[in-house]
């Protein structure tokens, strides 16, 4: 109610303020022409109606529009503030990351170097182990070959010794020695107590 009253008073005030120059103008015209005509009154009334329309219809809408614009702008400002805060946070994060980038690069480089060292050590160890194995195999083969050659040599020497011995024995064997050997054998047989006691 108070608002409506205030609004009416404000309208009347505005109308008075508006009409004062108009009345002055009309008086001036009247003085110039000698009277205040109907056409002038209609203009004034028309103007007043225009003011009322503007006040009661256009002004609230304009105000609402402006309030909405204000709220929207406020919300957008808030959103922009939030986005700016986020952007600032990201910027700070990027700055932080950028600051740690050198360290990260150094760490990656160090990791690569350490991996390389480990791989090198592993390859060297494997190569060493392989070489040791090969050396052991070669040594074993050499030993086997040596043993084989030694055995072959021994066999050859023994075969030669036996062939030589056999040749000598055959050369020395005659009817007499054969008879003597048979006699020794028979004597050995005759001296046995049991068959399984025989020894050549």
């Amino acid at each position: 109610m108070t608002t409506v009253l205030n609004r009416a008073l404000a309208t009347l005030g505005a109308a008075a303020a508006t009409l004062t120059p108009a009345a002055a103008l009309a008086a001036e015209h009247g003085e110039a022409h000698g009277q205040f005509g109907l056409a002038e009154a209609f203009y004034i009334l028309n103007f007043v109606v225009l003011l009322l329309v503007l006040y009661f219809w256009a002004l609230p809408r304009a105000r609402d529009f402006l309030v909405k614009r204000h709220d929207q702008a406020k919300a957008e400002l808030v959103e922009a503030g939030r986005l700016k805060a986020e952007a600032d946070a990201k910027l700070a994060e990027y700055k932080r990351l950028m600051a740690g980038l050198e360290a990260e690069v150094a760490k990656i480089r160090e990791d690569f170097r350490a991996d390389g060292e480990r791989e090198r050590a592993r390859i060297l160890a494997e190569a060493e182990e392989s070489a040791t194995r090969m050396r052991a195999t070669a040594q074993k083969q050499i030993q086997q070959e040596t043993a084989k050659l030694r055995a072959e040599l021994e066999h050859e020497v023994v075969a030669q010794v036996l062939a030589s011995t056999e040749a000598k024995v055959r050369a020395q064997l005659n009817a007499g020695t054969q008879r003597e050997m048979a006699n020794d054998y028979i004597q050995g047989l005759e001296s046995l107590e049991k068959l399984d006691q025989f020894a050549a």
Binding site: L162, A175, D184, E190, A200
Partner: protein, 179 residues
């Protein structure tokens, strides 16, 4: 040659038959003759083992061989039984089993004496006497000559080998040197 249970069974039957007729020696020799003929004649073996040849024809062939060797009825009948029972291929084994069982019955054993040069009769007799003393059985010697022995004598009796040869001594020397 090892004797199978079947060979021993047939040999035992023949031994029992011979005990009645008391002609072990004759039957043994005739069996040995047939076994030698069998082992030396691949044709005879092929014929007797051939399942396509009728039994009557095989009997006919055996009968002709019996006539030639003048085999005793016991020998003839025994060999014909072997033929009918399809055991004729084992005649050598059976002959050996028969000889072993006869030796056992007669308290007799066989020994093979091998020497590099022929032994004198007196030496063989001394060996025979020594073996008879050691075994407590009559020993039948089979003397053989094998020059590869170089010198000395080898006696085989049953599963025992009494080796006094130079060949074996050289072999022992070889093994000793190679150890």
């Amino acid at each position: 040659m090892s004797e199978s249970p079947i060979a021993r069974r047939y040999a035992k039957a023949l031994v029992e038959l011979c005990t009645e007729t008391k002609n072990h020696a004759v039957i043994g020799k005739q069996l040995e003759s047939f076994a030698q003929t069998w082992s030396s004649s691949e044709d005879l073996q092929a014929l007797m083992k051939n399942p396509v040849v009728p039994l009557a024809d095989k009997r006919e062939v055996l009968t002709r061989i019996f006539s030639r060797f003048l085999f005793a009825p016991t020998t003839r009948n025994f060999l014909l039984v072997l033929l009918e029972n399809e055991r004729i291929a084992q005649v050598e084994e059976i002959t050996q089993a028969f000889a072993s069982q006869m030796d056992e019955l007669s308290n007799r054993t066989r020994a093979t004496v091998t020497s590099a040069v022929p032994l004198e009769r007196s030496d063989l007799a001394r060996i025979q006497n020594a073996l008879q003393r050691l075994t407590g059985k009559t020993v039948v010697l089979d003397a053989r000559v094998d020059p590869s022995l170089i010198g000395g004598v080898v006696t085989e009796i049953g599963n025992i080998v009494l080796d006094g040869s130079v060949k074996t001594q050289l072999q022992s020397l070889r093994e000793h040197l190679l150890v």
